[in-house]
């Protein structure tokens, strides 16, 4: 009985195509991921059902667990104008070069009096070492001066008050105490900013709640 010979086939698979796919995906993920800006101070924000994404262009007030406040401004913010405005308002005696130097720092977290020494420091001063902007009570709330600087810097611009209010973000640690939060609010209210936004992590509306029903009725609906 002659049996038909089955030709032996190599079990070697050409991996080239798979390799191509792997690296294509890899490069896609790397390029598509937006690098998170390094966080100078770590803060665990509480979560809320808000769905609006936090704006990219923002003035961020950070409130840490210990109650320290920091001010972070992006590159697209008139940072230099703000510092210059604070400089003139509080007569800090900063030179132009010093103002520029401070404006290049990612975080402002020292009292007004410490700004000048900070600008002249040769070594790196990380945000974790900074004592924070004093905002412990209403009598010595330097955050008020900073917010005033912000409103002054934007006073003559095309940006309306509402736009400015949209830009102000507060990111607080969940474990920060209420009085610290109140002091930040005080600083904003003192400068006529009655609206601001709080950075939170998103979570879904609990099943069966009113908001959940609203979302169900109007899936594409806009809600605040």
């Amino acid at each position: 009985m002659g049996r038909a010979k089955i030709p032996r086939k190599s079990t070697n698979i050409d991996m080239t195509a798979m390799c191509d796919v792997a690296f294509l995906l890899l490069s896609f993920f790397i390029l598509a991921t937006k690098q998170k800006p390094p966080e100078a101070v770590t803060v665990a924000a509480p979560s809320s059902v808000s769905t609006k994404a936090a704006p990219e262009k923002s003035i961020l007030i950070t409130l840490t667990k210990e109650g320290k406040t920091f001010l972070m401004m992006g590159d697209d913010i008139k940072k230099k104008d703000i510092i210059a405005a604070v400089n003139t308002a509080k007569s800090l005696g900063l030179s132009d070069a010093e103002v520029t130097k401070i404006s290049k720092m990612p975080v402002i977290g020292v009292s007004l009096g410490q700004l000048k020494p900070l600008a002249n420091r040769a070594d790196e001063f990380s945000a974790a070492q900074m004592p924070g902007i004093p905002a412990k009570d209403s009598t010595n709330n330097e955050l008020v001066d900073w917010i005033r600087g912000i409103t002054t810097a934007y006073a003559g611009s095309e940006l309306s008050l509402n736009d400015l209010q949209q830009m102000i973000l507060l990111k607080g640690d969940g474990d920060a105490l209420y009085p610290d939060f109140k002091n930040v609010k005080y600083a904003l209210k003192k400068n006529g900013l009655y609206k601001f936004r709080i950075v939170t992590n998103s979570e879904n509306a609990p099943v069966g709640s009113e908001l959940y029903k609203l979302n169900r009725e109007n899936p594409a609906g806009k809600k605040e």
């Binding site: 998170k36 509480p46 704006p55 209420y178 936004r197 709640s209």
Partner: protein, 189 residues
């Protein structure tokens, strides 16, 4: 793709005595490279945080409003929510007076408060505008955490209380002492 043509062109014969060079395959095993590629993909996928931070709107009442400019709300439509230490929530309906304090002042927690808020909302009759009288006043003690405030504001959103029908204001001494009493009684540290 990963192979190269190594055969010497068209079977050209070399003279006798010339050793035929051994044909070496240039085929490279790409399996480790694929492994590496997928390893990196997995790494990047896992380390990337997908959740984008969201922003919650805060509307603050003006502090310096004069007495006559202040918003008047019906007593029956007001609920005051107080936040104490240890994630405790207290609430009362209407206005707190010396006599009724113990009767209307109740303690709750973040789990139950949602239903309480909702019940209040449903108990208020629809005005000319829907629920125009409804008002929640949120107050917090010194020991309250930022998270608690956000949670309670979030509850307002969850219960679809329209903005402008809840406000966060300062606590007063009568409420503070009531909270203190309740905390002592319940042994909350």
């Amino acid at each position: 793709m990963a192979e190269m043509d190594t055969s010497s062109g068209g079977g050209h014969k070399k003279g006798p005595g010339v050793k035929k060079p051994k044909k070496l395959s240039t085929r490279v095993d790409l399996t480790p490279m694929v492994d590496l590629g997928f390893l990196l993909i997995t790494f990047f996928v896992f380390t990337t945080t997908m959740s984008k931070p969201t922003a919650m709107n805060m509307n603050e009442p003006k502090d310096d409003a004069k007495e006559e400019e202040m918003m008047k709300v019906k007593e029956s439509a007001v609920m005051t929510i107080l936040i104490g230490k240890g994630d405790q929530v207290y609430y009362y309906n209407g206005i707190l007076t010396g006599d009724n304090a113990t009767a209307i002042f109740k303690s709750s927690n973040f789990k139950d408060i949602r239903q309480i808020i909702l019940d209040k909302r449903n108990s208020v009759p629809d005005g000319d505008k829907s629920k125009s009288d409804l008002m929640y006043i949120i107050k917090a003690t010194k020991e309250a955490k930022f998270k608690n405030i956000i949670d309670i504001l979030d509850e307002m959103q969850i219960n679809a209380i329209p903005p402008g029908h809840y406000a966060e204001v300062d606590i007063n001494d009568a409420e503070l002492s009531l909270i203190k009493q309740t905390e002592d009684a319940n042994g909350i540290k």
